[in-house]
Amino acid sequence: MTDKTRLGLRGLLAAGAITVTAAMPIKAYAETTYNLALLSDFSGPYADIMPILAASRETVFDWWNETSGQELGVTLNYKNYETRYDAAQVASLWPGIKSELDPIAVVGLGGPDVAALSERLPEDKIPMFMATAAYGYAWQSDAWIFNPRPTYSHESAGFLNWMREKRGGDEPLKVAILASEASPAYVDMAKGLELYAEEHPQEIDLVEVIYTEVQPTDLTAQMRRVVRAGAEALVIQTNTSIVVAAKRGLQANGANIPIMMSSHNGLPASGAALGGLEQLEGDYEAYGMAVAADEDTPARQFYETLVADYGLEAPWNVVTAMGISQGLYTVAVIQHAIEENGADGVTGEKVREALFAQPITTEETHGFLPTLTFTPDAPFPLQGLKVNVGTVKDGKIAIDATGVDVPDLQKW
């Protein structure tokens, strides 16, 4: 290669580099950073599931930063705050979180976060995105706290209607509820379903409503009442310890009434607490997001991507699904806000506006959630709600039904 040729090549490379640089979008270089505050419970009642939930939602933010975020020139920073699932702790932490992070959104965990921040967030103009189903007591218009799922009562009513159809016949389904007064959220779950049963006696015949402690001493006598009342389903949306005590109570009575659990106390967690998933053969979990079963679904494929390419260390179960779905709908809303307002123009208020501006499609959440259309009327989508039903079949979790319609419920 002669000097002339070498010089020519260098010139060509330099010109190429300049051209490529000029052609690249400026925003890829002008990176903007926004902060998310993550409320967590590593030492309270949900300490057992928190490491998995936290890892799942954090990995989604990492995935988004490396994919869509890089394209948009935006990085989402996040920081966990330990709340011990205590409203007082959340309330006392909040001023510090706000001044330290100035977050554009809060990623919440449960009822205490809602109780502590429902009055503060509208003032501070920062929305909070939850992973759980919604609560009746928080069902208000112009909300700043949002749930991707309807209330627990919506989910249980949807499941019970599906079960009645599965059973066949015109008779209402005889149902018992096991609730706890330990948390307003637990009472709320029971009250919503009670109202639905009262208004739809042709669908649900509520034969027993039992209140107990979060760690019950013994439920044998209570389960005897449930059995004698002829219950065909037992709804327990509280915690795993109550599921275990109820199962033992049913076993003591020689009965096997199907139990319906929710996501936070679902089949894997309750099965582990009972000493094996096989003890829950024929029981159900039902909620408005993907069931973490063995089947090859888009949700499962996305989970595998997070594990393989982004280092997610969490088993494929309902808690992981909950964390991933929370992360996915949060970044989807933020992405909508960036697309609407530009990379530099996003605030908490703009994020909330973006939530109402367009639906979050099921494709955007990789099938973890149905298409979500939020309105200012409620903290959760009021239309197009679905639940999925998982069960234990031959000792393994299997999908029993998907896209089960959720009925309309009146506020309670």
Binding site: E181, A182, V187, Y211, D218, A221, S241, V244, A252, A273
Partner: protein, 294 residues
């Protein structure tokens, strides 16, 4: 009607379980005048010891139960040696504050050592209830109730009829005076903590048999608190009556009132009863009335 009878029986037996846990409060109080706020945490420590020896070490129940009781006694002894022995002669208030610190420390230790996972607890007592016609009696609670009554009779006899028991009562009156009379305050308090830890472990076995174990189970300490205060903090025998009354009241409220009003009264009623009694008798039903002459 049969449901009402069943609820009364179950309530009474649950009340006896509370009485067993409350016995831990009373034994420690009678020997040191210290109210142990960490009693519920001792139940959890006992539960984890039983779980560890049974589920982790794979020992049979015949081996793991006595071993667990010995280990629990050692834990009680260690707590007294490490945290309380140096406070002998200091104000009782400082010892009580140490038990508040213990509550937080033991919870943290459990989380650190065993993690937050909900674990299956071994089935120690038969799951099948005893049926007497239509009447249903949970076996674990029935056996637990019998153990509680035996423990109450035995400890009452020990504290009221034996020289060692009476010495411990003297220690509770005044550490310095007891020391000057040649009574070993250290030994008395250590013995009380050993007994308190063993009682808590028995309580854990009855409470958790066949169910699940998490640190949330320590809440039973708060459930037992009104029983101890209702009976009077010095009365071991009184715990039986107080436990039965509170257990039945709580059971009836939870089963008949809570479904009507949407919950929340079942956990409050024991405290209402306790406060009502304390208004009439500030020392509890069977607590000692002290006369101070100035």
């Amino acid at each position: 009607m049969i449901y009402l009878i069943n609820d009364i029986i179950t309530g009474a037996l649950i009340g006896l379980l509370y009485a067993l846990v409350a016995m831990g409060f009373v034994v420690i109080y009678r020997a040191s005048k210290v109210f142990n706020f960490a009693q519920g945490e001792l139940v959890i420590i006992g539960g984890f010891i039983v779980w560890f020896t049974t589920m982790q070490m794979g020992l049979s129940l015949w081996l793991s139960i006595p071993l667990s009781l010995v280990l629990a006694g050692l834990v009680g002894y260690a707590i007294e040696r490490i945290f309380l022995t140096k406070l002998i002669g200091e104000s009782v208030f400082s010892m009580v504050m140490v038990t508040v610190g213990l509550l937080i420390l033991l919870r943290g230790l459990v989380l650190l050592l065993f993690g937050p996972a909900v674990r299956p607890f071994p089935i120690i007592f038969p799951l099948k209830p005893l049926f007497l016609g239509d009447m249903l009696i949970p076996m674990n609670l029935l056996i637990g109730g019998i153990i509680t009554i035996i423990a109450a009779v035995g400890l009452s006899w020990f504290f009221n009829r034996t020289r060692s028991g009476l010495r411990m009562t003297a220690v509770a009156e005044d550490h310095l005076v007891a020391s000057s009379m040649g009574i070993s305050v250290k030994e008395s308090i250590a013995f009380a903590w050993i007994v308190g830890a063993i009682l808590s472990t028995i309580g854990a076995m009855i409470f958790l048999s066949g169910k699940s174990l998490t640190f949330l189970a320590s809440d039973i300490g708060f459930a037992a608190l009104p029983v101890a205060l209702f009976a009077g903090l010095e009365s071991i025998g009184g715990l039986i009556l107080a436990g039965v009354i509170i257990g039945i009241a709580q059971s009836l409220t939870t089963n008949y009132l809570d479904p009507l009003i949407g919950g929340s009264m079942g956990s409050v009623v024991p405290y209402i009863i306790m406060l009502a009694i304390l208004l009439i008798r500030p020392t509890g039903l069977f607590g000692w009335r002290t006369i101070e002459r100035v």
